[in-house]
Amino acid sequence: MVPHWRRPLPLLLLSLLCPSFTSAHSFENTAVVRTIDLGGSLVHVTTTYAVKALENGATVYTLALAEREHKRTSWLEAKIKGQQEILPMEAAGFDTENGVHLYSVELPQALRTNGTTNIVVETMETHATYPWPEEAGQKDGQALKHDTDLFVVSPYETNVERIKFKLPSPNAISYSTPDGLDEYTLDNPVAKSGTTITYGPFNNVPVTAEARFLKSKQKKVTVHYNYDHPVLEITKLKRTAEISHWGANLNIEDNIDLHNAGPRLKGHFSRLEHQSSTFFGRLPPHVLPSVALHLPPNICSPYFYDLIGNVSTSHLRVGHMPSEQFSLLELRPRYPLLGGWNYSFTLGWDSPLRDYAGFDKSTGKYVIGVPLMTLVPGAVVDEAELQIILPEGATDVDFFPPFPPIQSYVKTHITYLDTVGRPAVVLEYKDLTTKHAGTIYVTYKVPFSAHMKKPLAVATAFMTLFILGFAVKRIDIRIQKK
C-alpha cells in the first residue's frame, strides 16, 4: 500500500532519514495514551505521545506501525498537542528485521536533553471491524468485532501506557482480558466504565517495535460491540468533473457502488416485516433505507439513475450560498439495503462554474478547485477514480491534489462537438475516508483560438451540408439529356 500521507520535506531532512533509524534512541515516551474510537467501517485512532528527548537537538521522532495496523491505516497525521499545524512526515520505509513500517516526524523545534513535548497522532483505520455474528436475520441487531494489538508499537521505551476503546453504545458484548501482563501492571489490566474500555496503565514498556517483542509479548485484544448504524462501504467510486467554459458550468457525476458491509442477511428479506418495522419506526440497525448526502450549494439539474434508468425516489433541497453551505439530498435506493446487499448508481449535478473556478491575471491561467468526493457519512471508499475533464484546447495543465494519488495521468477525452478532444486529469486513490475530503486544484491555460474551435467546427459542418445541398440541386448528373 502506498502511503497517502507523505508530505514534502526539506531536502536537509532527507539526509537524516535512513531505514536503520540511527536516531532511534534519542527519545523516550514518558506517557502514551491511545484512544480507539470504534465505528462501522471507520475506526478513528488518536495516540498521544508525551515525548522526552534523551539527547540534544533531537528533531526527528519516529513512529512505527505494525504490519496489520499499517495495512488498515489510510490516514496518518501528527500534530503538536494544542496546535493546528500538521507536522511534516516522511515514510522511512519498512524495517524488514522487525517487521514494522516507520515514519519520521519532524518536530517544529529541536528538543534539548530532557526537553518534552506532546505529539498527537491521528490515524484512520478502514476495514478494521467485521460483523459478528457474520449473518443476522432481518429483525436482529448488529454487532461488530474489532481486533487489534494491545501495545502501541513504538521504537522507544515507554514509561506509562494506556489504551482506551470508545464504544458507540454503553453495552459491550465482550472484550478480551489479556493475561501475562504482570510485567507491566499489578492491577486488573482492563476496566470498563460507561462507553469506555481502558487497558492499562502499563508501566515500563520496552521498545515494542522489534521482532522479539511483537512475537512473544504483544497481546491481541478483541472488542465485540453493538453498532446501531449500517456499515457502509463504497467499493468503487468514479467521479467525473467536466468543465465547460462555454456553458459556464461544472458538471460532476459520481458512479457509486454501494455495499452494506454489515452482517449478511440470514434467511431472506421479508417485505412484510420491513414494512411493519418501518411503520413502528424500529428499523433494524443493519438496514439502510436511505442516505442523506451533502452536495455543494447552488447546484441545479441533479440526476440520480442506475443501470436500468431513472430512480424517482429521492429528494433534493438545494441550498443557496451564502446562507446555506450545502444542498441536502435524501437518496433512497430502489430497495432497502440489507446486510451484504449491493446497489450501484450514478449521481450527478451541474454547478455554476464561477463557484469553483477563477482566473489568475498574473499568470494568465485558470484555476479550478474540484472537490475530491461526496462524503457518504461513515463509509469507506475502497477504490476511487477522479477524472477532471478540462475544456478543449487547454494547455499547460498542472494539478495539485491534497494528498498524492496512487496513480495520476493526463489523457484525452472526446465528447460532444469536439474536434481533437479535451485533456482529462485522472487520479486514482484507495481507501478514502471522511478525513480525505479535500479539493484538488487544477490550473490550465485556454487560448482564444481554442475557445473559437467549437463554433468554427459547427459552422464548417453546416456550411459543408449547405454547399453539398446546393451542389446536388444545381449540378445535372444525368447521362442522357432529355
Binding site: 417485505r271 412484510l272 442506475d306 431513472n310 430502489r334 430497495y335 446497489y343 450501484s344 472526446i414
Partner: protein, 783 residues
C-alpha cells in the same frame, strides 16, 4: 370567368413554383416536427426508457451489436435465454432494427457525438415516424397530388393507430417497418408508373430492408403480387408492369434470402408462393405477347388457350405436389389464425394468450383513427372514379388491410397508412372543390365581394398547402392547357369531378357562404382530430408499462417502480448464473434489466418449454419442485397485483398457463379443476383445492393476509376477500418482495442436507410432531 373571391394576378409562374415548393418543404418539416413531438409524451411524463416487453430484447441485442460489432452479433449465441437450451440470436431475429440503430450509433460516434445507445433506441421510432410521414406524402402524391400528400403526411404523423406502436421508447420492429412498408409501396407504384427497372430495383432493396426488419414483410410479399394479378385480370398487362414486377421479384427475393432467419422460406413456404406464381404468370403472358406479335391471331387464340390452361394446371399441380412432398411448407398456424379467429384458441393457445392477437373491438377503430375512419370509404370510392393502376393498388390494400385489422388488434397498424392515404384523398377533394374560387357560369351573377374577404382569410391556412400546391401541378401542365398567364393556372379547376364536366352544364359552388360553411366545418373536424390524437396519445399510448404512474391526492404524479426495483435487486444481489423462472411475458425484461438467465421469454419458439413452466406454476409444490430442480431454477418470479389493484398480474394470466400446460400434459393438468364447483374463477375461501395448492396461488398470496394485521384481507384486483390464514410454502423461500408487492421473488430451496423431504424438514423445524402413519390402537378396557 366569375370568381368567388379575388386572387392575385401579378405573380410570375416562377414565383408561384418557388413559393409552393418552399411552402411544401416548410409544411413537411412542420409535420415531421409534430410527428416527433407528439411521440415524446412518454419521455416527458416518465423518462427515456425502453417500453414494454419485446423492445427490451431489441435493446439488449442492439447493445451487443454496438459494443461487440456486427459479426459478433451475427454469431451471437445467447446461453442465458431459454435455459438450458440457449438461443442462436443472430439466426432467429430480424436484424434490421438493431442494424439501423447500430449504424446510427457508429455514425454519431464517428462524428464525436457520443450519444448513449439507449437514447438512440428510444428515439428511433419517433425519428422514423417523420420519415413515414414523408414517404406517405410521396405515396399519396402519386395517388392524387401534393396537397393530398401533405394531408396524408399530417394524418399519419399524428394518427393514434400508428403512434400506438411508435412512441419514444417503443423500440420494436414496427418502428421502422411502417416507413419501409410505405416507401416500398411508393417505389413499387413509381416503378409501375414509369416502367423503370431502377425503381423496381429500389423497391426490391427497400423490400429487402423490410424483410430484414419485420416479420410482417409477408404483407408486401403478397400485396404486390395481388396488385399485379388484379391488373392482369383487368386486362392491364403492360411492359411497364412486366419490368416493374420482374425486377422487384427477382432482386427482392434473392436479397430477402440473405437474411438468415428467412433463409430459403421465399421458395419453400406457402406464404411466398403467390409472388412466385404471379412471377411465373407474368413470364407466360409476356411470352404470349411476344408470340402474338409474330403469329396470326387465329393460331394464337388456340395456342394461348392450350398453353395457358396447360401451364396453369401444371403450375398448380406442381405447388400442391411440392407441398405434399414437404418441399414447400404448408401454411403456418399464425396464418390460419388470420382466417379463423377461433383457430388459435383451439390449437395454439400461446398465440391466443397474447392480447394484441385478439380480434379488434369496434371502438378501437374510432379511438385509433377517429374521423379518418369515416373519410376512408369516401377515399376508396374516389379511387374508383379514376381507377388508374395505382388506385387499384390502394383499393386492394384497403380491402385486405381492413379485413386483417378486424381480425387482429396489432394489424390495425397496417391498415392505418392506407386509411390515411384514402382519407387524405377524400379530404383534399373536398377542400379542392370548395376552395377553388371559380364560380360556375350562372344566370344570376351577384357580386359576392362582401363574403370574399372572410373566405380567403379563413381558408388561408389550408389554401397555403392545398390551394397553392395545386397550382404547381397546373403550372407544370401549362402547355396542354394552352392558356396563357398565371391566372388561368390559378383559377382552373382542380378536382377531376368539376373539370371533367366543365364543358357541359355548369356545376360548382356558388357564393362565399357555402364555401365558408363547408370549409369551416372541415377545419373544425381537423381541429378535433388533432385534439383527439393528442389526448389518446398522451393518455393511452404513452405509458412505458415498466413504470406505472398514479396520482397523489394533491395531484402530483407518483411513480410506481416495482418492476425495476425487483429486477435491479436480482441484478445486484444474486449470483450472475442464478436462473430465474417466470411466466414468459417477463423473460425479455428479466434478461434486459436483471441480466439473469431465464427459462422462457417472449420469443415463444418452444411451446413445450413454456408448457413446462406453466405446469410448474399450476401444479402443487411437490410436483413442481422436481421440475424446478431439474431446470436448475434458483429464483421464481411472480407478478402480483392484489395489493395495488394492478390487473395485469399472473393470477389473471394463470388460466393461460393452465391451458398451455394442459395442451402438453392433458392427464396432469385440467382446466376445470381450477374453477369452483359453480364454474367461477375465484381466489378466496371458495377456490378449488387444486387452485389453492398450485404454486402460483401460493406464491402470490404467501403472507398476504398478514399484511392486513388481523383485518379482512382483500384482493383488490379480483375484489375478493382472502382467507384469514394464507398459504404456506415448504419448497420455496420468499427472497424479495417489491415495495407495492407487485413483484415477488422466491428462492428454490436446495435439497435437505439430511435427505429428508423438504416438507418434513420444515415441519420438524417448526416443532411439529411427525404424524404417525398408524394411530396406536388403544386397548379397550375389559368390562
Amino acid at each position: 370567368m366569375p370568381l368567388a373571391y379575388s386572387v392575385p394576378t401579378d405573380l410570375s409562374p416562377a414565383t408561384v413554383v418557388n413559393a409552393t415548393s418552399l411552402l411544401r418543404i416548410v409544411a413537411l418539416a412542420l409535420i415531421s416536427g409534430a410527428a416527433i413531438a407528439s411521440r415524446l409524451f412518454a419521455v416527458v411524463n416518465f423518462e427515456s426508457i425502453i417500453h414494454e416487453f419485446d423492445p427490451w430484447f431489441n435493446y439488449r441485442a442492439t447493445r451487443v451489436l454496438a459494443s461487440e460489432g456486427f459479426y459478433e452479433f451475427w454469431n451471437w449465441f445467447d446461453p442465458t435465454a431459454w435455459y438450458p437450451l440457449g438461443r442462436v440470436v443472430g439466426g432467429t431475429i430480424y436484424p434490421g432494427l438493431m442494424a439501423t440503430s447500430g449504424v446510427i450509433y457508429n455514425i454519431l460516434h464517428a462524428l464525436n457525438l457520443p450519444v448513449d445507445i439507449r437514447n438512440i433506441c428510444v428515439l428511433l421510432a419517433p425519428g422514423f415516424s417523420a420519415l413515414t410521414a414523408w414517404s406517405t406524402y410521396m405515396f399519396t402524391k402519386e395517388m392524387k397530388n401534393e396537397s393530398a400528400g401533405l394531408l396524408a403526411a399530417a394524418f399519419i404523423g399524428i394518427v393514434p393507430g400508428y403512434i400506438s406502436r411508435s412512441v419514444a421508447g417503443s423500440y420494436d420492429n414496427e418502428a421502422i417497418a411502417i416507413f419501409l412498408l410505405m416507401f416500398t409501396f411508393f417505389l413499387w407504384i413509381k416503378a409501375l408508373k414509369t416502367g423503370s427497372a431502377l425503381f423496381g430495383t429500389l423497391a426490391a432493396l427497400f423490400y429487402f430492408y423490410m424483410v430484414a426488419a419485420w416479420g410482417g414483410y409477408a404483407f408486401i410479399t403478397n400485396m404486390i403480387p395481388l396488385h399485379a394479378f388484379a391488373l392482369i385480370l383487368m386486362g392491364r398487362f403492360s411492359s411497364r408492369l412486366y419490368v416493374a414486377y420482374s425486377s422487384w421479384y427477382a432482386i427482392g427475393t434473392l436479397a430477402s434470402m440473405q437474411v438468415p432467419f428467412v433463409g430459403f422460406q421465399p421458395v419453400r413456404t406457402s406464404e411466398h408462393m403467390a409472388a412466385l406464381g404471379v412471377f411465373g404468370l407474368l413470364q407466360i403472358i409476356a411470352f404470349s405477347e411476344l408470340v402474338r406479335a409474330h403469329v396470326s391471331s387465329k393460331q394464337f387464340q388456340s395456342l394461348l388457350y392450350a398453353s395457358v390452361i396447360g401451364m396453369g394446371i401444371l403450375g398448380a399441380l406442381g405447388i400442391v405436389g411440392l407441398t405434399y412432398k414437404g418441399w414447400i411448407a404448408p401454411w403456418t398456424g399464425r396464418f390460419y389464425s388470420l382466417w379463423d379467429t377461433g383457430y388459435a384458441k383451439k390449437y395454439i393457445p400461446i398465440i391466443a394468450s397474447v392480447s394484441e392477437h385478439q380480434p379488434t373491438a369496434w371502438p378501437s377503430f374510432f379511438m385509433d383513427l377517429q374521423l379518418l375512419i369515416f373519410l376512408f370509404p369516401a377515399g376508396v370510392v374516389l379511387c374508383f372514379r379514376e381507377l388508374r393502376d395505382e388506385h387499384v393498388f390502394v383499393i386492394i390494400y384497403a380491402v385486405v388491410a381492413s379485413y386483417f385489422a378486424g381480425v387482429m388488434v396489432r394489424l390495425m397498424l397496417t391498415l392505418t397508412p392506407c386509411v390515411c392515404v384514402c382519407a387524405a384523398v377524400a379530404f383534399s377533394s373536398v377542400l379542392d372543390t370548395y376552395i377553388d374560387p371559380v364560380e360556375p357560369e350562372a344566370v344570376e351573377e351577384d357580386a359576392q365581394t362582401a363574403g370574399d374577404g372572410a373566405v380567403s382569410a379563413s381558408s388561408t391556412a389550408v389554401s397555403t398547402s392545398s390551394g397553392s400546391t395545386t397550382t404547381t401541378k397546373k403550372g407544370k401542365k401549362a402547355a396542354p392547357a394552352a392558356h396563357a398567364g398565371p391566372l388561368d393556372g390559378l383559377v382552373s379547376t382542380v378536382s377531376a369531378a368539376v373539370s371533367s364536366k366543365k364543358g357541359e352544364k355548369a356545376r360548382g359552388i356558388f357564393g362565399g357562404d357555402t364555401r365558408l360553411a363547408v370549409i369551416l366545418n372541415a377545419l373544425g373536424m381537423l381541429l378535433f382530430f388533432v385534439l383527439h390524437c393528442t389526448y389518446v396519445t398522451s393518455s393511452a399510448y404513452s405509458s412505458p408499462s415498466v413504470v406505472l404512474a398514479s396520482t397523489n391526492p394533491d395531484g402530483s404524479q407518483h411513480i410506481i417502480d416495482d418492476f425495476r426495483e425487483a429486477y435491479y435487486w436480482l441484478r445486484q444481489n444474486t449470483p450472475e448464473t442464478a436462473v430465474v423462472m417466470s411466466w414468459w411475458d417477463y423473460g425479455y425484461q428479466i434478461a434486459g434489466m436483471a441480466d439473469r438467465p431465464t427459462l422462457v421469454d417472449n420469443n415463444t419458439w418452444n411451446n413445450t418449454h413454456i408448457a413446462t413452466v406453466g405446469k410448474a406454476m399450476s401444479s402443487s409444490e411437490e410436483v413442481a419442485y422436481p421440475i424446478l430442480r431439474k431446470h436448475d431454477v434458483d429464483y421464481v418470479l411472480v407478478i402480483f397485483g392484489g395489493l395495488l389493484g394492478y390487473s395485469g398480474d399472473d393470477i389473471n394470466k394463470f388460466l393461460w398457463m393452465v391451458r398451455i400446460a394442459q395442451g402438453v400434459w392433458p392427464d396432469e393438468i385440467q382446466e376445470p379443476n381450477y374453477f369452483t364447483a359453480k364454474g367461477e374463477y375465484r381466489v378466496d375461501d371458495e377456490a378449488s383445492a387444486t387452485m389453492k395448492n398450485s404454486l402460483m396461488y401460493k406464491m402470490s398470496y404467501y403472507r398476504f393476509a398478514e399484511l392486513f394485521g388481523g383485518n379482512q384481507a382483500v384482493d383488490r384486483v379480483r375484489g375478493q376477500q382472502m382467507p384469514r390464514i394464507g398459504p404456506t410454502l415448504d419448497y420455496l423461500d420468499e427472497a424479495f418482495t417489491s415495495e407495492n408487492w407487485i413483484v415477488r421473488i422466491y428462492q428454490v430451496k436446495k435439497d435437505d442436507l439430511l435427505g429428508r423431504d423438504l416438507r418434513t424438514a420444515n415441519a420438524f423445524e417448526q416443532g411439529k410432531k411427525r404424524k404417525r402413519s398408524k394411530p396406536v390402537a388403544r386397548r379397550k378396557a375389559i368390562v
